[in-house]
């Protein structure tokens, strides 16, 4: 096991060195895919059989060797990493050659994430975390030497540095005895130290996972990178942050933490889910829509994590294992369908030439493979029943509904309120997927480029079909997959905790609700098959093709062979009802209307500027504060020589007096 992991990591380092040269980018990416598959193999071995106990490496910081281990929790997230990385890397190999910096940073990014997951001491974990952050920054910056993209990369780097610092502080508080996980578990934090650990982990790992109010970088940074990188960041990197959160909140501080620990997670998660789902309905960039949907899913997952903490603190182990199972399963399912959707978006962007839905449309006719895969992913993201997203969101909502079993009235009320918010977020996410599919794949092409787009072929098609097949498998085999998490659940919640699984069904206790994905799939297939048979075979009427209804518009003028773009609904237009009714929850919106002057034949325009409330209410006030402080500091420079001297003198005398006073007391 150690040999396999070590070989994969060393291979990644070697590939990074090859990537610097810029030669043979396909070899680099295919090699990375092989290494990622190796990680997946190691994870599968660890999940089905025995993991790897903490092993000391011959390298490490001066005070102790680095420790690596592969327990069920790490193995599960390593599996998620492999599920995302293999298709993304195949897609990268099928894309045109990237800049050399990207080829060098890509293997390092993978290696950093894997190092976080296999680490068994704080130092190695933080090292991997920082490597992951820096490499992903390099991946964004490599594509954008100047301009808006570079500013986005800088914003991302600032947030990454912030989260790294918070995590370092969190580990410092967590590990007075030693940085090894075993040493931390032996001396769990208590009192104010535990509360500070909670806050620091929420700030550190939370800002990496995109929790509100530190979510603002995510919808900007994820779409700015190249498609495979976006898929990895959205599918795997936020999961690594989630892993750090689980490790530092659920595992290392021990089972004796109070129930209220979960409440901040529930609140932040619900807010993030709502904000993400709302913004997904308002974005004008297909990759940004997907990034916002990532926010929504991370919010749901963090709500589940908070519930697990609450239930465990209230001694409701079966419910805690239900919530934790929902977290773990949704992390895997989201990795599957989000990778699929990002790769489809990348295929659309490269083959149809744009990421703006207002320049796409009708692609289902030109790109049937891509459209089919995207539909599968979008249905899954919208949590339609037989597909993978439904199983885990069902588990999550069921565990939220069980919130009334906690004795405290306040937690019951919070669970009920969260249920409403989460329900709204899930509905909005489904609306966002409808909008994405409708604008990009349905209707008529809005530009000639979209009308002439070719379908994905060769390795790109393989890269799309792989996660699609995986998503389908996960949909039907949700229960067997979930039973693989049994080890992780036992590890976190005690020896007699069980995954909520019976055979091929997901169950809540013996007499509780039950969800059988295979039965739903079978019934749906039966219904669709019978309908198809009735319409196509048994009908006496021959099928005919009619022109599409034009919404009552005039037929297009002859110079617009693909129809008048204005006669189709636009991205902003489709999002407008939600923007008007709910948009102000997440966004600061400014609408300005510029009417045409009387007699002027020009059209009137409506200009809508939206900005996330995280910017207007957190980042801008912080920037103003910094400016004010620097003006104060600047004013200090204008003092005369005598005042400067007396400042130094006064400080010295004050400190000496302080020393004298302290010695007396």
């Amino acid at each position: 096991m150690l040999t396999l992991l070590g070989a994969c990591l060393l291979a990644l380092l070697g590939l990074s060195a090859l990537g610097v040269t810029g030669r043979a980018p396909r070899v680099v990416f295919l090699g990375c895919a092989a290494a990622a598959a190796g990680f997946g193999l190691a994870a599968a071995i660890a999940l089905t059989g025995d993991g790897m106990a903490a092993t000391a490496l011959p390298v490490g910081p001066p005070w102790a060797p680095s420790l690596v281990a592969l327990d069920p929790l790490s193995a599960w997230f390593l599996l998620i990493l492999a599920v995302v990385a293999v298709p993304a890397l195949l897609f990268a190999a099928a894309s045109p050659a990237p800049p050399p910096a990207e080829g060098a940073a890509f293997p390092l990014f993978l290696a950093g994430m894997a190092a976080v997951l296999v680490a068994a001491d704080g130092f190695t974990l933080l090292l991997g975390f920082e490597l992951m952050s820096l490499a992903s920054w390099a991946l964004i910056a490599a594509r954008h030497p100047t301009g808006v993209g570079r500013r986005t990369a800088r914003l991302y780097l600032a947030f990454a540095a912030f989260s790294g610092l918070c995590l370092i502080a969190g580990f410092a508080l967590l590990a007075p005895a030693g940085l090894g996980f075993a040493a931390i578990r032996a001396a769990p934090p208590e009192g104010w130290r535990a509360a500070m650990v909670l806050i620091l982990v929420l700030l550190g790992a939370g800002s990496k996972a995109g929790l509100a109010p530190f979510h603002i970088w995510l919808p900007l940074a994820h779409p700015a990178a190249a498609t495979p990188v976006s898929a990895l960041m959205s599918g795997a990197m936020v999961k690594v942050a989630l892993y750090v959160m689980i490790r530092l909140l659920l595992d290392l501080p021990g089972p004796a933490q109070p129930a209220w620990w979960g409440l901040p997670l529930i609140g932040l998660g619900a807010a993030t889910a709502l904000i993400g789902a709302l913004r997904a309905n308002l974005e004008r960039d297909i990759k940004a829509i997907l990034a916002c949907s990532t926010l929504e899913n991370m919010g749901l997952i963090v709500v589940g994590l908070g519930l697990a903490l609450v239930f465990r603190g209230s001694d409701l182990r079966p419910l805690a294992s239900l919530a934790l199972a929902a977290v773990l399963l949704h992390a895997l399912n989201h990795a599957g369908f989000k990778t699929l959707l990002f790769l489809c978006a990348g295929a659309v962007a490269s083959l149809a030439g744009s990421r703006d839905p207002d320049r796409l449309g009708g692609l289902i006719h030109r790109m049937p493979w891509v459209a089919g895969c995207a539909m599968l992913g979008a249905f899954s993201a919208a949590a339609l029943p037989p597909l993978s997203g439904f199983a885990s969101e069902w588990l999550l909502l069921q565990s939220l509904i069980q919130g009334w079993r906690v004795a405290e009235m306040s937690i019951q009320l919070i669970a009920a309120g969260t249920l409403a918010v989460v329900g709204m977020a899930v509905g909005l996410a489904a609306a966002a997927m409808v909008r994405l599919l409708g604008l990009v794949f349905l209707g008529r092409p809005r530009t000639p480029r979209a009308a002439g787009a070719p379908d994905a072929v060769g390795m790109m098609r393989v890269a799309l079909l792989l996660p699609a097949a995986l998503s389908l498998l996960l949909a039907v085999l949700a229960a067997p997959m979930l039973s693989l998490t049994g080890g992780a659940i036992r590890q976190l919640l005690g020896a007699n905790a069980l995954a909520p699984v019976a055979g091929f069904d997901l169950v809540l206790g013996d007499a509780g609700a039950r969800y059988a994905p295979w039965a739903v799939a079978l019934l749906l297939a039966l219904a669709v098959g019978l309908t198809w048979l009735a319409v196509r075979r048994r009908s006496s009427l021959a099928p005919t093709r009619e022109p599409a209804w034009d919404g009552g518009f005039m037929p297009p003028p002859p110079h617009l062979p693909f129809g008048d773009p204005l006669s189709q609904v636009s991205a902003m237009g489709l999002g407008q009802p939600i923007r008007r009714s709910l948009g102000r929850v997440a966004l600061a919106i400014r609408e300005r209307h510029y009417p045409a002057m009387p007699g002027d034949p020009a059209t009137a325009t409506l200009r809508v500027d939206t900005e996330d409330r995280g910017f207007t209410q957190m980042l801008y006030p912080l920037a103003r504060l910094r400016r004010r402080l620097s003006r104060r500091a600047e004013a200090l420079r204008g003092r005369t020589l005598r005042i400067n001297l007396s400042l130094a003198f006064g400080t010295l005398v004050f400190l000496l007096a302080l020393v004298a006073w302290l010695e007396r007391g």
Partner: protein
């Protein structure tokens, strides 16, 4: 070693004399006397270093004493005196400023230094404790002098006093390597030369040594 024993008494007398000279520097308005007092403090420092070298049996302190005598007792005073001679007679004294206030402040600073040093160094030898307290007082008085005086020459003298205090602290502690004292001495020579040049340029430009004159001209000549 304590009161009534010769090594302690002599060291104490020398340190006390340096402190006294610091008070002289604090109120002396005539520049010529200021330079004389500075030379006297340098000579006292040299004697203290030699005495400590004799008491501790550390021959490198003789070198320190020699450097102090040559640099602070002779060279720097000569340098300052030559600079003073170029000044117009009107600049040989400076306007009276709060002498009473500075004397009271100086006394308070000495009290503060003793209050800080004595409890910190419980367990150390009495000689080192007294020495440190006196040295800290001299440093603080030098800083106070730089603060209260307006003339550049007096401010240079304040800087020199601070350095004297530092060296006094260094020689009181057994086992201080010679290289540190050598480099401090070199540093203070360089500082004196730079400060002297600065004062001369300032005098040529503004016909005054009042450093408050500089503030309105800040940022010029770039």
């Amino acid at each position: 070693m304590g009161i009534g024993e010769l090594p302690y008494d002599v060291a104490h007398v020398l340190g006390g004399a340096m402190l006294l000279v610091s008070f002289v520097l604090l109120y002396q308005r005539r520049v010529a006397s200021l330079v004389n007092a500075l030379a006297l403090q340098g000579a006292l420092l040299a004697m203290a270093a030699v005495w400590q070298g004799y008491v501790q049996g550390a021959p490198q302190l003789y070198v320190t004493g020699l450097i102090a005598l040559v640099a602070k007792g002779v060279l720097i005073p000569i340098f300052l005196r030559r600079m003073m001679r170029k000044l117009a007679p009107g600049h040989h004294t400076e306007p009276a400023s709060n002498i009473g206030l500075s004397m009271i402040g100086g006394a308070l600073l000495v009290a503060l230094a003793i209050l800080v040093v004595l409890p910190v160094t419980t367990g150390a030898k009495a000689l080192a404790r007294e020495d440190l307290a006196v040295a800290l007082s001299i440093i603080l008085l030098g800083l106070l002098m730089m603060l209260m005086r307006r003339s550049a020459l007096a401010q240079i003298a304040g800087l020199m006093t601070m350095e004297n205090g530092l060296v006094l602290a260094a020689i009181g502690v057994a086992g201080m390597p010679l290289v540190i004292e050598l480099s401090t001495a070199g540093l203070v020579l360089v500082a004196a030369v730079i400060a002297g040049l600065f004062a001369r340029v300032m005098h040529e430009r503004f016909d005054s040594l009042d450093t408050d004159m500089l503030d309105p001209h800040r940022g010029e000549g770039r």
